[in-house]
């Protein structure tokens, strides 16, 4: 099957700055694809190159097999939902939504009919005559969606579409966007700096940093099997323990502790072990289950934060602090600062990343 978007060796340079540095990326038809990274990582530039608002300095960019490298935006079968929506302030909701159709010379009645359908789809019926300034942020967001989708793009591009909404509305819209995408079966390419948003919504995620593509994978891949230290640190909360590889199975921490951590790296490689706080169990010293002996450490509780559904411990393990999240409901015992404890985890839940 032809990829919806196929990016090969694409580089974008602004003067001396490499905004996007030689990336390869393939987005499948019907996929909900997230591009994730801190601001300035090149994710928006990549999106703008797909839209045609920027042209690549080098490389090949294909949309459904057609090379579009320097094709202007109005000649591409993609539409964009802009950050802050960029709705036309002097036009009504209806005129905003039908704009693309009118520019495409669709006849007036058909254009109006389709625009009304889309307005209904995004649940804004009755607001056709309003100006964007008379709508709430969430409603403006829906207009922006309808305005892009009415043209039946082969790929929908979304640039931080939920960034301007408050938390509750954002969560609501996340669900709606996801179900809309499933319903339409169109590829959505979604730029965000919010890792939680990417994890909950996307089929696959590309993590970018400094113009480079660090990892592409399913949310599970990215979260549980990060490709490197940056990805591990950027996605969710994690403990990173510096270590050196001993062999296929073992690593040695800075203080000489040997831990079981399967890895494919040659002995002597400097690595970091990523350990998610929620993957770690906590108990009194000497209660470490036999099968976890080689994936355990001993320490002293430094602080405890009560979160209602969970308890966050900071456990001092000699030279570093380890964050541990315990389930508040199922915890057999709660610990106070100063308690001597042991922590352990499943040998499958730690993950070694090269430095």
């Amino acid at each position: 099957m032809t990829a919806a978007v196929d990016i090969k060796g694409v580089t974008k340079r602004f003067d001396d700055v490499y905004a996007v540095d030689d990336i390869d990326l393939s987005i499948a038809d019907g996929e909900f694809f997230a591009m994730l990274g801190p601001s300035g990582c090149g994710k928006t530039t990549t999106l703008r190159m797909i839209a045609g608002l920027e042209f690549p300095t080098m490389g090949s960019l294909k949309i459904f097999g057609e090379e579009v490298g320097t094709l202007p935006p109005n000649k591409r079968p993609v539409n964009t939902v802009f950050q802050n929506y960029a709705l036309f302030p002097h036009m009504s909701v209806l005129d905003n939504v039908s704009f693309g159709l009118r520019m495409n010379k669709v006849d007036k009645t058909t254009a109006a009919k389709k625009a009304h359908e889309l307005i209904e789809l995004v649940q804004l019926s009755g607001m056709e005559k309003r100006r964007p300034s008379q709508l709430s942020g969430g409603q403006q967001q829906r207009v922006a969606l309808a305005r892009a989708l009415v043209n039946e793009p082969k790929v929908l591009l979304l640039d931080e579409p939920l960034g301007a909404l408050d938390l509750k509305l954002r969560q609501e819209m996340q669900g709606e966007l996801k179900s809309l995408q499933r319903e339409l079966g169109v590829s959505f390419v979604f730029v965000t700096h919010d890792q939680e948003e990417a994890l909950t919504m996307a089929d696959r995620i590309a993590v970018m940093h400094n113009g480079k593509l660090l990892q592409v994978g399913t949310p599970e891949d990215i979260y549980e099997r990060p490709a490197n230290r940056f990805v591990a640190d950027f996605i969710g909360q994690t403990n990173l323990l510096d270590a050196v590889v001993e062999d296929d199975d073992m690593i040695i921490l800075e203080n000489g502790t040997r831990l079981m951590a399967p890895n494919p790296l040659p002995p002597g490689t400097k690595v970091a072990m990523s350990l998610r706080p929620e993957a770690v169990d906590i108990g009194p010293r000497g209660t470490v289950p036999a099968e976890h002996q080689k994936t355990s450490l001993e320490g002293v509780v430094e602080s405890m934060t009560y979160l209602g559904h969970a308890l966050d411990y900071t456990v001092k393990i000699g030279w570093i602090d380890l964050e541990v999240r315990a389930d508040a409901v199922h915890a057999e015992q709660r610990f106070q600062p100063g308690d001597e404890v042991a922590v352990w985890w499943d040998r499958t839940s730690d993950w070694v990343v090269a430095d």
């Binding site: 109005n74 539409n79 520019m103 005559k129 100006r131």
Partner: protein, 274 residues
């Protein structure tokens, strides 16, 4: 409490009094001008009973009417040209980068900074040279060209302010929605900067109607404009005829401003109904 409110209310009263002073300063001369335009006395400083004679005189004077028509012709043509050129240069400066942009930017606003007399002398010398080479005479063309020359700067400033306040993502959105560059300009940029263009046009029109110094230098036979005509009358002795002419000009310019406000409002409303 009173210790806090007292000085504040004093400040407030002083500020309010100041506002009235400013109004008085602005409008008292105009009021006096209007009142004495109806005075039946040749002496502008003395009230000689109510009359409309001065307005009748203005209507009867072919010289005055000729000057008014000259002024209007020049103002209309120079405004149209200045609005087009000023808007284009505003777009160039706000939306594009090109070689020599900073120099162009600085030069564009020069006519606002340099004194009228300097500009008048410059233009006069320029036109004399040009007349030698191309053989055209002074009159409508030279006055209109001069007015265009100083109006462009003002139009450009006003339009640019409007452009700067406009989200440039809107043009990208239009192009993303299959508009060509021209359609994006026509359907998105132009309607949004229209208030700036109208404002700039009003400014250019008023400046053209007003100008004495530059016009006086570059005018030719048969092309006396209204302000130049009034200026000439004053030299012969001030009569309330000048007041009457001034009132007509005042009412006309106020009418223009009111018209532009009304069209703006009507556009806003019709856009909401459609």
């Amino acid at each position: 409490m009173s210790g806090i409110t007292e000085p504040r209310s004093t400040t407030k009263r002083v500020l309010q009094a100041n506002i009235w002073l400013v109004y008085l300063f602005f409008y008292a001369p105009i009021l006096v001008l209007v009142i004495y335009s109806f005075s039946d006395s040749r002496n502008v400083g003395a009230w000689g009973g109510f009359t409309l004679d001065w307005y009748r005189d203005f209507g009867d004077s072919s010289a005055a009417k000729g000057a008014l028509s000259n002024s209007l012709k020049i103002a209309v043509v120079s405004t149209i040209v200045a609005v087009v050129l000023g808007t284009i240069s505003a777009l160039a400066l706000e939306r594009f980068t090109f070689r020599g942009k900073q120099v162009f930017d600085a030069l564009l606003y020069l006519p606002i900074i340099i004194p009228d007399v300097t500009m008048a002398v410059m233009l006069l010398l320029f036109f004399s040279e040009a007349a030698n080479i191309f053989g055209f005479s002074k009159g409508f063309a030279t006055i209109t060209l001069s007015h265009i020359a100083f109006s462009i700067s003002f139009v450009s400033i006003v339009v640019r302010a409007r452009l700067a306040g406009m989200d440039d993502k809107l043009e990208e959105a239009a192009v993303d929605l299959y508009a060509t560059k021209w359609q994006a300009f026509r359907h998105v940029t132009l309607p949004l900067i229209m208030p700036g263009i109208i404002g700039g046009a009003l400014l250019a029109f008023t400046l053209s109607l007003d100008d004495v110094v530059i016009t006086e230098f570059v005018t030719g036979p048969g092309w006396t404009t209204l302000p130049v005509y009034v200026f000439g009358l004053i030299r012969k002795g001030v009569t309330p005829l000048i007041n009457a002419i001034s009132v007509v000009m005042l009412v006309a310019s106020m009418g223009l401003v009111a018209l532009s406000l009304l069209t703006d409002r009507a556009r806003g409303e019709s856009a909401e109904i459609e």
